[in-house]
Symmetry: C2
Subunit: 470 residues, 2 copies
């Protein structure tokens, strides 16, 4: 049996504006109907796999919970990293978690935001790797390069092992320039480093103690002091923070002689740029990938997406990226799409909220989104999950009008609690304590019209909260 | 004294998606804060000018009224063309209108959607033209070409008149190819045909009777049978429709020997394409024209507009047009921006409402705009002008919740009429007759949440309407 470990924290600016820090790429359906995280969950289903351990950040925990629920997956636990410390410590935490349970079966460590569509081929590769991993080697998976990609690290295999299903590693090569990448492809024996690993907890800890003992010490201590709040598990903050911020590659793989690689041929992508998204998705006869309400006339080799209720018309473009969401758009040559990082940095520098905050804001109880705003008012769409319950709260400067448009709301205004059905409304005067909950079994959709002189999110006094936010 | 005649009907697809049939370009502030129509009104203010006569289409009359009100201009009349018949008949209607009032002072005929920023130079040119126009010549204004433009018609002047302020016309030349246009600029004596005219009503009618007698006959009859509904004047439909659909150029100017041209040097544009908009507006050091919340990194010679609450980021573009409105976007090389007509045609072919309908829909009483929609509901922002009054109406399939967010509403629901102030709301059950009016002196803003199984605009029974729509 194998224990999947899914690394679901962090990142997301590389696919701005669709993906932002406040709603990063692993939670988006970039290909098909499932998010990248959900596709990753599905990839490690089946009789050979234990329920997965997920690792994420504190402020992304409700995304992960929502996505697990949607995918009907019950996790073994959700490890909340108190601070981001890269993959070396993250995988160490998973290893100590397993060992503490008395488990030492191989962990299948996977980033949550990669794309592998051929699940059968993937599971075959795992089967190939399993005996070596069980024997205490650290197994990596090397993707046979389809082109001289400069955005990936490479694994050079030992020439002696040529043709073997499991090979020794000569060395790890960081992202090469184009000339070297072309040489790698020509020479053969070089593989893209997929960031997917199969390793026994004891084997990883053994190698950690040899090559990065500080990680082993501090993470072991952090896990010993972890506090449980099922399904969440929080390692001790100070101990975890003391661990060096290192990737597994740098901390262990580049140094250990117990690393092996399984060369594989299946299509894989780290979905690390808009250009990668264009490459992955099936282009039409003109080489275009179009999504949403898009009209493209004489357009070639382009990626044009409307992720909002916006009609996008393009004429005479070649190798252009154009992504339009409800509150932001990005246009660039596909070959320069990775410069979106400069956009995000520039917006952050200007204090622009859209650098990191998505239009639809996720909360433990559901989501909200501003759909209109004007002088002294704004209109929001609020969606409350079944069982979701907002805090008991009040506002100093604004009154609120709520109209239930779908589902059932349990509404408390002052001392009175009542149920509102579709097409019913209520009014909450400024200063009055109130609370909104969804007692039903389907999502509750509500239109909220706020009136007042100040409408900022910070005009909120939380009197009581089931999610520990008051 | 001079009587301005402003032709404010028609068109608008060339600046899609900002300008659409349902809200065409003359009503938009493309440069500065005023719309092109309002800038045209301002250009013919001052002591030498009578109040203007406006000519427009029936379904654009409330736009024109709104814009006149905003500009604080009281028109002499607003002529509503029952069918579009091009400039020959439109100017004929203005001429017969003047003659019927016993006026024969020169008419200054101007399209409402051209741009001339130097009003002083423009009025100087009018002064130069005035004596000849008063003497019965038909005066045109020829713009000295600044480049070999292939999108304009040219006027060739007589070589004998070289240097004279008012010159005879050798001939009118339709839009030339680039080689000919370059030759015109090189040769000199060729001017862009601005579509602005100064002519006495009697002189125009005289030339019409010589060269296009059918226009004279039918339009004279249409004006004799016109019905007045001040400030509107409606020519008889059948008679007007019988007039040939011809431009003044084709019907008269190319044939008459009484045509003269005043060469002028001021900057002029027909704002006939997005490329023209880029040329007109002052570009920054990188040659860019940026409007709204736009971030441009390493972008050159481009026009990027955000006409919505959308952050637009662009990287690495050159001579690209990108216009984003609340419900549509258009991206193309600037040099191919005129192909937007293919976009509009294609969208029309697909029955796409956004080909012609703007996001904000104009009605005689004000505007409305859908800001959110979902399963069985939609949310609108409604703005009612001071004094505006919607029809007494009912809906079969939807209920409505109204929240006043600014101004005062007079609300009738069933038998009851009441006043709602900011932050008050009401509910209108399906099937109940209701009416909304703004009795105040400032605009009324209202958020409407509709709930029901069918939410189309055609679910409306109008029981009574002050604008004659019931």
């Amino acid at each position: 049996m194998i224990r999947p470990v899914i690394l679901a924290g962090g990142g997301g600016a590389r696919l701005w504006p669709l993906s932002r820090t406040g709603n990063p790429k692993q939670f988006h359906a970039l290909v098909g109907d499932q998010s990248l995280l959900q596709a990753t969950l599905q990839r490690c289903g089946g009789p050979n796999f234990h329920p997965p351990l997920l690792s994420t950040a504190e402020d992304q925990r409700f995304f992960v919970v929502d996505q697990l629920e949607e995918a009907r997956v019950t996790p073994a636990a959700i490890l909340l990293e108190p601070v981001a410390r890269n993959t070396g410590p993250a995988i160490a935490a998973a290893a100590f978690w397993a060992l503490a349970r008395g488990e030492d079966e191989p962990l299948l460590v996977m980033p949550s935001d990669h794309l592998i569509e051929d699940t059968a081929a993937f599971q075959e590769a795992i089967d190939l790797a399993f005996p070596s991993a069980s024997a205490g080697e650290l197994l990596t998976f090397g993707i046979r390069p389809t082109r001289a990609h400069t955005g990936y690290g490479y694994i050079e295999t030992s020439a002696d092992d040529d043709g073997a299903p499991v090979r020794r590693v000569e060395k790890f090569v960081e992202k090469p320039d184009l000339a070297r990448a072309e040489q790698f492809v020509k020479d053969g024996g070089y593989y893209w480093n997929s960031g997917i690993f199969l390793l026994r907890p004891s084997a990883y800890v053994r190698e950690l103690k040899l090559h990065a003992p500080e990680i082993a010490t501090h993470v072991e201590q952090a896990m010993r002091g972890a506090s449980a709040d099922a399904p969440f598990l929080r390692p001790d903050r100070d101990a975890f923070a003391a661990a060096p911020n290192l990737s597994i590659d740098y901390a262990v793989l580049e140094k250990s002689d117990r690393v092996r690689v399984v060369p594989v041929d299946f299509a894989w992508s780290d979905v690390g740029s808009w250009e990668a998204v264009h490459d992955i998705l099936g282009a039409d006869e003109q080489g275009n990938v179009l999504k949403g309400d898009v009209l493209a006339l004489d357009v070639r080799d382009s990626l044009i997406r409307s992720d909002a209720d916006v009609t996008v018309a393009a004429v005479g473009l070649e190798r252009i990226l154009c992504v339009i969401t409800e509150d932001a758009a990005f246009i660039a040559p596909l070959d320069r799409a990775q410069e979106v990082r400069n956009v995000v940095e520039e917006l952050r520098g200007r204090g622009h909220s859209r650098a990191d905050e998505p239009a639809r804001v996720h909360r433990p109880w559901g989501t909200y989104q501003t759909v209109d705003r004007g002088d002294r008012f704004q209109t929001k769409r609020i969606i409350v999950k079944p069982g979701g319950k907002l805090s008991l709260q009040k506002h100093k400067h604004r009154s609120e009008h709520w109209v239930v448009v779908s589902g059932t709301a349990e509404v408390t205004v002052g001392e009175k609690t009542s149920l509102l059905e579709e097409n019913q409304s209520t009014y909450i005067p400024a200063g009055t304590p109130h609370r909104l909950a969804n007692p039903g079994t389907v999502p509750l959709h509500l239109v909220e019209v706020q009136c007042g002189s100040y409408l900022g999110e910070d005009d909120i006094v939380r009197l009581e909260d089931v999610y520990g936010r008051s």
